[in-house]
Symmetry: C2
Subunit: 294 residues, 2 copies
């Protein structure tokens, strides 16, 4: 690319549209969305924007949806990409089926966050599940997902879903003790509205709400960038989850029968082999996590 | 970030230094290096540049080394990041130990490409290896690596290494039949000098140069972006590698004893568990690759 001609074009674009552009799209690359955050200083990932479809400001965060050139539609919260149509399957399937396939016959599931509905779509594949509570803090995320991401928000259509718009921390404090088989924490990054979902009191509430032998799965950022965050979560959970029967997460005792979930389309990413593989860690991470066990 | 003030700064920088900047660093984000390629249209990854340490043009490609803000020193060929000090361990360890730990007692190894020396560093951890040929087309890559990446280029210091500067395709054609236990193809992308290393005649030469039961491991781009390339390679290799004893890649029969390789520092990424896990594929990839088997 030619920086000088880009620059000229951007000057004109800025003259025309500076005030009209949302903050996150005052793109450092003209015509591109660039994801920058103190969570990953010194690096940026950028997607070429075809068209901005939605921009709003909820009580909690900036919400943007754009049509990208090569990743389908993209949902952005506070400047950070939450999902793209092209690859959302990996995240939604793994955060859901790793816990639910690790225990026999999960019946009652709680999802904290996950307002796009993708985790609900995946939980709904499990025929043993009778009830799904979801507590999402930001109604705008749910509404935007229903409008722009129908293949993700399809999860809301399942009759077993009970959607609560509210604070996940408070919801868990009020939940009946020992009432859930699994809790899935589908949060954004630990700066902004999801901050408390990474802290010890939250995991204490999770432990209280789970039945003995129940499981929790949480979004815990990147092995490459956030071993400090992961180490804290593991250390807190080792303190808190001391009782209850042992769950061997490497063995999916409740394998997913793909034929049972045709209404939500076939699984794209998850299978029993990749379930077991997901618990094999690179040496640098294994070292940190195993040292927490002592 | 504030696009308008960035823009002002870039205008001044451009006035001062437009002609002095190498093409790849006419950065779309001022002060950042942005990796853009027809190999991944519509997306870009960017790293903040502290200082450009080297820029040159070899007979084959543009070569840049810069100090990044958060990924250590970075080697760039033809505008594409080849390695960063922060995460090179994952690539070098996996492309080397997946093949070498899958066969008993590898003695003679050929590396095609890999001019930074990182694969040599990893091959050298195997005490059974007696001889390592490397054929790298671009001497400038070797020289730059020795100058700026001593912890990577340390691989060249091993007395078992025989470095040949030349064309890997021609080297393989002239190699003695059945002479190698393993061939490792550490290439750049299939546009530019490495193009032929992705094509069927090259793999025919590899098969000829390997002993029965010998193994090849090649850089094959991304499961998310390049299933067409991967499908071609798998299909070609299924046609070509029909004879010889079966190798079960999931079982590392030659596990790496970390204590045997202290001179090159401890392994950071590879271990026997992650070896097996590396052969578990997401369903979308498994489907394509298994359909090739019929």
């Amino acid at each position: 690319m030619d920086a000088v001609s880009d620059l000229k074009r951007q000057r004109e674009e800025d003259d025309d549209a500076a005030a009209a552009k949302p903050a996150c799209l005052s793109s450092v690359i003209p015509g591109w969305f660039s994801e920058m955050s103190p969570m990953w200083p010194g690096e940026a990932h950028s997607l070429k924007v075809e068209k901005v479809l939605f921009q709003g400001k909820s009580d909690y965060q900036d919400v943007i949806v754009f049509q990208s050139a090569t990743y389908g539609k993209v949902l952005v919260l506070d400047g950070v990409i939450q999902l793209t149509e092209r690859d959302e399957c990996a995240y939604q399937e793994m955060i859901t089926h790793l816990p639910l396939c690790s225990i026999p016959h999960p019946k009652k599931v709680l999802v904290i966050g996950g307002g796009d509905g993708g985790v609900l779509r995946e939980v709904a594949r499990h025929p043993s599940v009778e009830h799904i509570d979801m507590c999402e803090i930001d109604k705008m995320v749910v509404d935007v997902s229903k409008q722009f991401f129908p293949n993700v928000a399809i999860g809301f259509e399942d009759p077993r879903v009970n959607l609560v718009i509210g604070d996940g921390v408070a919801f868990l404090k009020n939940a009946a003790q020992g009432s859930y088989d699994a809790v899935i924490v589908d949060s954004s990054d630990p700066i902004g509205p999801a901050k408390e979902l990474f802290e010890k009191p939250f995991f204490q509430s999770v432990a209280r709400a789970l039945r003995p032998g129940g499981v929790v799965c949480t979004q815990a950022e990147s092995l490459w960038l956030h071993m400090d965050i992961i180490e804290d979560i593991v250390s807190n959970c080792r303190d808190i989850f001391k009782e209850g029967p042992h769950v061997d997460f490497r063995v999916p005792v409740n394998p997913l029968d793909d034929s049972s979930s045709k209404s939500n389309g076939p699984l794209k990413f998850y299978n029993s082999e990749i379930h077991s593989a997901a618990f094999c860690l690179p040496s640098f991470a294994k070292k940190v996590i195993e040292s927490e066990a002592t």
